[in-house]
């Protein structure tokens, strides 16, 4: 029975006409609204310190101000997201590349690993002046900082994925005289992909906070500098509005990556596996 059939049956059984998935979304939404209401009421009753917890109604008002009335957030948002994306790509390339290099070559691993660890253990704030001196003020040095912040997770995960090859399957491949390329493509890579994807997800969220660190150091533009201005002026409602904007975007990106993950590592879940095997079966039927 496919997943869709199952869901249809389940919906029919509940008799409310709401599918299981929609019901879950409603529950999530319900919890969320309840929390917000609790926050607002506590704030009005004076239970919450207004300095640290601005009222949801004030935050909503700020959203209106900065997105619509003044519209000053759009440009900064564009700038920050651009940095996040570029930094993430750079960091992933560096992390996966280094991880693979180090994973496949024990000699390189011995020499490179200490320096990579040293790099990771160094707070980027300390390295920032050197990066700026080398790459100049502005986007290049900011992207470099983000790259350094987010490369480690892909590196470690890729390294782990490449090293932990299933011994039995490796023997099987070798006994069938598979070439190195084939071993790499058909055994190592598929096994490593879920791990690498997990690393990529971590890298993306790290890139988001990396962008803020970069903007904390070079405060000319971006959401990070906007948050600093609002926090300095004790305008916590607007500061929180900016922060929640980032949270929402980060969350959406994360979910997007999960969906991409399901498509790429399709064998890990039922519907994906079924979809791909159907497609392949059809292709073979046509061919043969």
């Amino acid at each position: 029975m496919s997943v869709q059939d199952y869901m249809a049956v389940k919906a029919a059984r509940t008799g409310t006409g709401i599918s299981l998935r929609n019901r879950r979304i409603l529950i999530h939404a319900g919890i969320f609204i309840a929390l917000i209401a609790l926050w607002e009421i506590s704030s009005r009753l004076g239970w919450l310190d207004p300095l640290f917890y601005p009222r949801p109604s004030a935050i909503l008002n700020s959203f209106w101000l900065i997105f619509v009335v003044n519209g000053n957030i759009w440009y900064h948002l564009y700038v920050t997201l651009g940095l996040v994306f570029l930094g993430w790509v750079a960091g992933s390339v560096l992390g996966v590349g280094l991880g693979a290099l180090v994973g496949f070559n024990p000699v390189v691993r011995r020499f490179l690993k200490p320096y990579v660890i040293v790099l990771e253990a160094t707070p980027r704030i300390a390295v920032a002046p050197l990066l700026i001196a080398a790459l100049g003020f502005g986007a290049p040095s900011k992207i470099a900082i983000i790259m350094l912040v987010c490369f480690f997770a892909p590196f470690i995960n890729t390294l782990s994925g490449v090293i932990n090859v299933n011994e039995d399957r490796l023997d099987l491949f070798r006994s069938l005289r598979a070439s190195k390329m084939q071993v790499l493509r058909k055994l190592v890579l598929p096994d490593a992909i879920p791990v690498i994807m997990a690393g990529e997800r971590l890298a993306l969220t790290a890139a988001l906070s990396g962008a803020l660190v970069a903007e904390f150091i070079q405060r000319d533009q971006g959401i990070g500098s906007l948050i600093l201005i609002y926090t300095r002026n004790l305008n916590m409602a607007s500061a929180f509005a900016c922060i929640f904007t980032l949270t929402i975007i980060g969350f959406l990106i994360f979910k997007g990556m999960e969906m991409a993950d399901q498509r790429i590592a399709f064998w890990k879940n039922e519907p994906g596996m079924k979809r791909v095997s159907d497609r392949r079966r059809r292709a073979m039927a046509i061919g043969g």
Binding site: I125, F137, F216, I217, Q218, S225, T231, R232, L234, M236
Partner: protein, 346 residues
Amino acid sequence: MTMYKAMLLSTALCVTAVPGALMAQDLTTVNMINPLPRSTNFYPLVVAEALGYFEEEGVEVNLLPSDTSIPYVAFIQNGQADLAMLDPVETINARNAGAEISTVYEVMQNAPEGIGISESSTATSVADLVGTTVGLVSDRDRAFLQAALDTVGASIDDVQTVVLGESGPTLAAALRDGNVSAISGAAPDWINLIANGIPVRLITPEELLASPANTFAANTATLEEKRDAMEGFLRAWTKGMYVSQVNPEAVAEMLRQGVPAEWENEEAGQMFLEMSIGMNLSTTERLGDLQTDVWTALQPRLLSSEAIASEVDVTSFLNDIYIDAANDFDRAEVEAEAAAWLAENM
């Protein structure tokens, strides 16, 4: 006008405008590194840009707002920044480290630093702080506290210090809840607290009030080479400063449009502007002039509060070669331009 004619006309306009635009692009970029992005705190920049003064001088300002954990002086040295905003302690430390920098302009002649207490506190002077916990906005404010305690014969060991960080809410809560008896910080901190309902009183000792705060430092080796751009920049800056002397409303409106994020609360914005004018508006006859005696008198107390390692001869870095040119403008003209801007943009 038909479609065809309109297209022809606009193409002609573009073709003739482009060389014009390219010519106008012949601006020299002045890279300035300072702690804040465009802000009410340094309003001369915003005002001068609103009135087009930098463009007039053939200068384009590339602002590089950076956290103070970055050594600004290093970027003056390697040429990535033309001007850096430093305070006296940073300047003297840089000279002690052998950096070839010159201080060419005093941006703020009244020190924004101070010791703030809660309105409800019974303290009347710094002497009352002995035996209590005093908050510091940053590690560097310890030296100021030490100097303040020095003036009443106390020492830094007579108080407990705790670093609170720059975050507004934390400072506000610390004063409000009485976690600290006072805070050693600077004017922007007080303004924000006051504007947000946390009344602050200052008990800064008199002796410490007259002290150059922020100054512009430049690379000694390229002072002549960059003279035109520097003088143009400083003249535009000085004009911006002058506008606040004659037309603060215009300044307020320029800031409202230029930095809306700081003016979402109108009252806070006004308070901020008032205090900024107090700090930015020069008290010397030539605006932005370097007060040699003040710098010389400053060093012994900096030395005793361990803010600097050793004293430096002020003539080795104070350099007023740009000051005359910076003050060389028609006051009346600036007044008129500011009034006209305000009328147009109200």
